[in-house]
Amino acid sequence: MAGIVKKKKNISRFFIIFILIVITFVYLIPLLYVVNTSFRPWIDIKEYPPKIMFKPSISSYIRIFTSRAVYAPGKEPTEEEFANMKWYERIVYEETNEKIIRIGDLPKRYLNSIIIGSISTALTIILGTCAAYGFSRFKVRGKDDLLFFILSTRMLPPVVVVIPVFLMFRFLGLNDTHLGLILLYTAFNVSFAVWVLKGFIDEIPIEYEEAAMVDGYSRLQVFRKIVIPQASTGIAATAVFCFVFAWNEYAFAFLLSRTVAQTVPAWLPYQMGVLGYDWGAAAAGTAVFLLPAMIFTIILRKHLVRGITFGAIRK
């Protein structure tokens, strides 16, 4: 009798595992499809039914990083010129009959994303850690109201805030500048950072600080030498969250930047090749852009729940 029950349990166990694996696979299909498309040779991209197996080509990656022009009829390179081509020029020529003119727009947008993301993250962490420490350790008049106010700024829909911000930035000449987006992302992230970091600082036993102050440490010394090192994991996790937010942000970047300070999300969906919308290049760009976020997700796994609920749930 017991044996039958056990067997039944085992079968249902395998069944659940099987379902989970199937779901995970189905879940990953869109991602796999994009990676698959990004390695597809030009002629296979619009094939129907979609080809899964093909000779992989990196020409899509070359195309997303470069600007190209089609060779005019009769102006195709001679055999000798072809022999002198660099390997990447040859790949592009063979697939799309194009000539590489210069480095494309993606590297600049990528750099913009990195600059804006990291500077705003640094500012956010500095402001956020100080404010979180203040709220965690001191009596502040109207603390709950202030914290509510700080959180509520984060809940505002970007599309709503962007109208007045657009006018303000235009008046100040901040549209399409790095500074403008950095300020905006800092303001939007700082509310998040204060809430999450306050949670982390609340968890540090206050006795350390009291002991240090008895030993003659000043408040600032306590903050620098005890609180910051103790909260470093939390600070790092918060920083990654802030960076990912700035990296992913679309509405502000799309409406407040045109070229100079444009980040990847505002640019990638709208880039057109000479030969119409270049889906191979779009897929390659997507893959290149999503990779950092994926790595961060894996690093952040432990803190993810805490981050996405603004520190409300500490597990």
Binding site: L20, I23, T24, Y27, I29, P30, L31, V34, P50, L127, G128, A131, R137, F138, F148, I150, S152, T153, M155, L156, P157, P158, V159, V160, V161, I163, P164, V165, M168, R170, F171, T186, A187, F188, V190, V194, D202, E203, I206, M213, R219, W247, N248, Y250, L255, P269, W279, A282, A283, T286, L290, A293, I298, R301, L304, I308, T309, A312, R314, K315
Partner: protein, 306 residues
């Protein structure tokens, strides 16, 4: 689950002699953040409130001082009486109900399945949460590729013909809902897992002794214990789905073919047809609705703390 936040304050006479310096210090610590938030978030909002009572277009007005004409509450009354705008409210509500509903059911279901311990569970969880931290607009772009009516994988895998999921107004709301569910089910799943793992084991053991049925255990132990976290997930997702903007933009391109969602309409009003002040008043209506949902969340948070 919810650790009670310790009131870590120095109170009493213990450190009284420092209190003067502490007040200046705490101001120094907190003020920069408050000032930044007022400058970047609050001041523009008041400006926008002022604009919402005027008729003003930002188009081409690069010079400062072009006076908005005050028209009182005309913008608001026009929004609230226009049946075409009401359909946008209804579409948004439909979007919220479908996507959040789907996410809650699937996310909680997955969390229940993931209660089982097995080798490779970590991998499965990690793979499942990948979509969550991706940029919504890029996810939209990715799905635009996937949905492509002529050569996309979606129709092929489901054995459908060349169905247009992107620009057909009868369908694209549902295709965006599907992507939203794909992207945010892991969010509900993670919160549910957090809730489920916090249920003390002895409750189940006690129920086992009483030979309670599976259904009894589920409705009397599991659901009530996970309920607070499901509520958090519900509020968060409702808020986000209500203001969804980047996903439809990513899936439908510039948004001309997008379904009539409120935020898409707001974008079109304010930045395509440049009826800035009209957009501002619509924005304020959305804002009030968001604040209502947010305050629910905060109220809940405070209740959980005490």
């Amino acid at each position: 689950m919810f650790k009670r936040s310790r009131e870590n304050q120095f109170n009493g006479n213990q450190l009284l002699h420092r209190s003067m310096r502490d007040t200046t210090l705490v101001r120094l610590f907190i003020l920069p953040t408050i000032i930044l938030l007022i400058a970047i978030n609050i001041f523009p909002l008041f400006w926008s409130l002022f604009l919402s009572f005027s008729s003003y277009s930002a188009k081409g007005a690069t010079e400062w001082g072009k006076n908005p004409e005050m028209i009182g509450g005309l913008n608001y009354s026009r929004i609230l009486t226009d049946p075409r705008i009401w359909t946008k409210f209804i579409t948004t509500a439909k979007y919220v109900v479908m996507s959040v509903g789907g996410e809650m059911i699937l996310g909680f279901g997955l969390a229940l399945l993931l209660q089982l311990k097995f080798k490779g569970k970590g991998f499965v969880t990690t793979f499942l949460i990948l979509p969550m931290t991706m940029s919504p607009v890029i996810v939209g772009l990715m799905w635009r590729l996937f949905y492509n009516p002529n050569w996309g994988m979606f129709n092929y895998l489901l054995g459908l013909g060349k169905i247009d999921w992107i620009s057909d107004p009868a369908r694209n709301l549902y295709s965006i809902v599907l992507v939203d569910i794909w992207m945010w089910t892991p969010f509900v799943m993670l919160l549910s897992i957090a809730g489920l793992s916090a249920i003390p084991k002895y409750l189940y053991e006690a129920a086992e002794i009483d030979r309670a049925s599976w259904w009894f255990k589920f409705t009397r132990i599991t659901l009530p214990m996970v309920y607070p976290l499901l509520l958090v997930a519900l509020i968060f997702r409702t808020m986000e789905a209500f203001k969804i903007f980047d996903l439809p933009m990513g899936i439908t391109g510039r948004g001309a073919m997008a379904p009539p969602l409120l935020s898409m309409y707001l974008y079109n009003t304010a930045f395509v047809t440049w009826k800035t002040s009209f957009g501002a008043s619509l924005g304020y209506i959305m804002l009030i609705m968001i604040i209502a949902i947010t305050s629910l969340f905060i109220k809940y948070l405070n209740k959980a703390k005490t």
